[in-house]
């Protein structure tokens, strides 16, 4: 009986294996005489709350319509995928050859995906008339990996200091001229601490893009160099660690900064002088009726810098119609559609020509001014893997078990070993 079972088991294994082997592949029309046919699938996400869903669908439908004016043979399908676990879902679908032709990515994911070979460089497909000059250098940096353009940007975010106006006035700051340097900020923050507030939010359990990385850039340093050399324990880097350490010791940042996910509630309740926020923070504050705030510039020590993601559309390397897909990306990100998309979603248009949509909205206008100093994060395939490692070293330092230098060294070693394991 057991032997029979064994044979059966083997058979089953074969069955499972063969099922695994035959993943269906749909052949789609390729270019014929410069004309395109077939189907293009685009994965998009809910960029707006569910009550605006129909509006978002219209924005995408318009993109498809104007694309079809030029290329009537192509059928464009937009599919909305939820944000959560999208990375895993994309990879699974692409691996099984069931993925989209065009999809949405952010820079560090783009680097990881490009390195795996699932993205198609679009430089050669889109010609020269996609409006290169309309984008800030930092925006193009975010869609470029190892010299190749892998996508075109559709949205940008800018993170900057937002102050509680009442506290700012209480500690003698000028709402018209909020702090611009570490020194100015620290002076006010320390007064805020003396007055019983915390100086700023610092969400240690959050991505380092929202905590330590911007400080490193402000100090003039970087996490990794362009060719993948680890810079994290350079002198300038350590300076950022030291700043956090000082803040923590002096109570400028709350005691639970080590491992908290959100300080925003405490800010809304008026306990914190300043948060590090984006355009979405404005709408959250509006929702909760918090109006006494002042938007300040990203700070600087050696140079002014901050973090802000860049959302882009990219082309899958296993798409059957890469050229049409690339041209669709170009169409989706042109001036008209960029404006329509960002007007609806309240992100910042990556095109300089798009800033006009914020006329009458001083806060958002102000954010667009910082696009030039807004970095896309770490552009390296290990960017996402090293997040918990950098977090951990920063936490060790804040707890006092490591000096800033030791923490920076340990972070550098951890990043290096992650690169070595690629």
């Amino acid at each position: 009986m057991l032997i029979k079972k064994g044979g059966f088991l083997l058979l089953l294994l074969l069955l499972v294996m063969s099922l695994a082997a035959c993943s269906d592949e749909e052949g789609e029309g390729a270019a014929e005489d410069g004309e395109f046919g077939g189907e293009l699938t685009v994965w998009v996400h809910p960029y707006v709350a569910s009550d605006l869903k129909a509006d978002q669908e219209k924005v995408f439908a318009d993109m498809a319509a104007s694309f079809n004016e030029q290329y009537p043979g192509v059928e464009v399908n937009f599919e909305e995928i939820p944000w959560a676990n999208r990375e895993q879902k994309l990879l699974t679908a692409l691996a099984a050859n069931q993925g989209p032709d065009v999809f949405y990515l952010i820079p560090d994911m783009m680097a990881q995906f490009a390195e795996t070979g699932v993205l198609e460089p679009i430089t050669d497909y889109i010609g020269d008339d996609w409006g290169q000059d309309d984008y800030a250098d930092t925006t193009l940096e975010a869609v470029t990996y190892q010299g190749d353009l892998y996508g075109l940007p559709i949205l940008r975010e800018v993170t900057t200091q937002i102050y509680n106006k009442n506290i700012l006035e209480e500690v003698g700051g000028d709402p018209e001229n909020p702090p611009t340097t570490w020194e100015e900020f620290n002076a006010l923050a320390e007064k805020a601490v003396d007055a019983g507030y915390y100086g700023r939010s610092f969400e240690g359990a959050n991505t380092p893009n929202a905590t330590i990385y911007p400080l490193i850039w402000q100090a003039g340093g970087d996490i990794l160099s362009e060719d993948g050399e680890v810079l994290i324990n350079s002198e300038k880097f350590v300076k950022a660690f030291e700043l956090v350490n000082e803040w923590y010791k002096n109570g400028v940042i709350p005691p639970d900064s080590i491992n908290t996910l959100s300080h925003f509630e405490a800010f809304l309740e008026g306990n914190i002088f300043s948060v590090f926020g984006t355009g979405l923070t404005f709408s959250s504050m509006e929702d909760r009726g918090f109006t006494d705030y002042v938007v300040g510039p990203p700070l600087m020590e050696e140079e002014q810098a901050t973090f802000g993601t860049t959302g882009m559309f990219v082309v899958a390397s296993n798409s059957d119609n890469k050229e049409a897909a690339s041209l669709l990306v170009k169409e989706m990100t042109n001036e008209e559609h960029t404006k329509a998309f960002n007007t609806l979603t309240k992100y910042i248009p990556p095109r300089a020509s798009g800033a006009s949509i914020f006329e009458g909205n001083a806060d958002m206008m102000q954010l667009t001014e910082y696009l030039d100093v807004t970095k896309p994060g770490v552009m390296h395939p290990v960017a996402r893997n090293i997040i918990p490692l950098v977090q951990a070293e920063m936490q060790a330092m804040m707890e006092g078990t490591k000096t800033p230098q030791e923490a920076a060294d340990a972070a550098a070693a951890a990043i290096q070993s992650e690169i070595d394991r690629m």
């Binding site: 059966f8 070979g117 005691p255 639970d256 080590i258 908290t260």
Partner: protein
């Protein structure tokens, strides 16, 4: 013709009896063919095959995208030089230390209390058992609020009544794991209570009577009679709480994301991160085997040293 009919007659007899035998065989084994055989097939597909497959994966570099590549023992070697993996193992052991004995002790105390069979103990039994059926997610949400690391945190306010300094809890790498263990103790001790309660019920009354005649008071009775007689329960409960403690994941995922400073990165949390965030399925499979080896070793040790059968009769 003669011969033929004889022949066919000869054949006819075994034919009937074979049919009959088949019928009898079917009657006897029908349940097995209908229910056990499909389950065995299911068992082979969803248990045996994945186990064999997981061993195979450990020898591969298995990215989610792209072709898997045979790398022999590299994943296993990587484990031995991976400090974070060892830290995850150590954190898991530490968690067990914080968790097992309190869970057993509290479970036993609760069982003794409800075993007094006073009026209303049934209600309390239900109350103590309630966290067992509640999901980690719900309790974690409440726990996060209770153990906020600022002065406004509920537990910190209680502490301040006793003049203690506010604690950081989940933002402190030596406290975070204890807070998580506390959550698990709260969640699980109701079930150890049930095990102990059943054990207490099965101790024959004569033992207490005999001890009473010897003049033992309640305290002595507990340590001389009840506690030793519960040995099989102690063993059973120890095994299941230990195994459970090595699989801790939910609260580390929900409350601390493995931090601060990796102090709540347990083995299963690390496995999850390596497999499904860092997309190293081969290496994550090695971690799963490490988990298995540890659980296996502990079961053997517990069986050897604490598993002595005790008979009441």
């Amino acid at each position: 013709m003669e011969a033929r009919s004889i022949q066919s007659g000869k054949q006819a007899i075994p034919e009937i009896s074979r049919k009959d035998r088949l019928k009898r065989h079917w009657q006897k084994y029908a349940l097995i063919y209908i229910f056990l055989v499909p389950i065995l097939i299911h068992f082979a597909i969803f248990q045996l095959f994945p186990i064999a497959f997981s061993l195979y994966i450990t020898f591969m570099k298995w990215p989610v995208i792209g072709t898997p590549e045979f790398i022999a023992l590299d994943n296993w070697k990587a484990f031995f030089s991976d400090e974070l993996a060892w830290k995850a193992v150590w954190n898991t052991v530490l968690f067990s230390l914080y968790y097992i004995v309190p869970t057993m002790a509290l479970g036993l105390i609760l069982a003794l209390l409800i075993n007094t069979e006073k009026k209303g103990t049934g209600f309390f039994k239900a109350v103590f058992f309630l966290p067992v059926v509640t999901s980690f997610v719900i309790i974690s949400g409440i726990w996060a609020w209770l153990f906020r690391g600022t002065e406004e945190g509920m537990i910190n306010r209680v502490l301040s009544v006793f003049g203690a300094e506010p604690q950081l809890f989940l933002s402190n790498s030596s406290q975070a794991l204890i807070v998580l263990a506390g959550l698990s103790i709260f969640k699980v001790c109701g079930s150890t209570m049930i095990y102990y309660y059943a054990g207490l019920k099965s101790i024959p009354h004569e033992f207490y009577e005999a001890a009473k005649i010897d003049g033992a008071n309640g305290w002595h009775m507990f340590w001389r009679v009840t506690f030793p007689l519960l040995l099989p329960i102690h063993f059973y409960v120890a095994v299941i709480t230990t195994i459970g403690s090595f699989q801790i994941f939910d609260s580390a995922y929900l409350l601390t994301q493995g931090g601060p400073n990796h102090s709540t990165t347990t083995l299963v949390y690390y496995l999850y991160r390596e497999g499904f965030t860092n997309l190293r399925l081969g290496y994550a499979s090695v971690l799963a085997y490490i988990l298995f080896f540890i659980i296996f070793a502990i079961s053997i040790i517990q069986r050897k040293y604490f598993g002595k059968e005790v008979s009441y009769k």
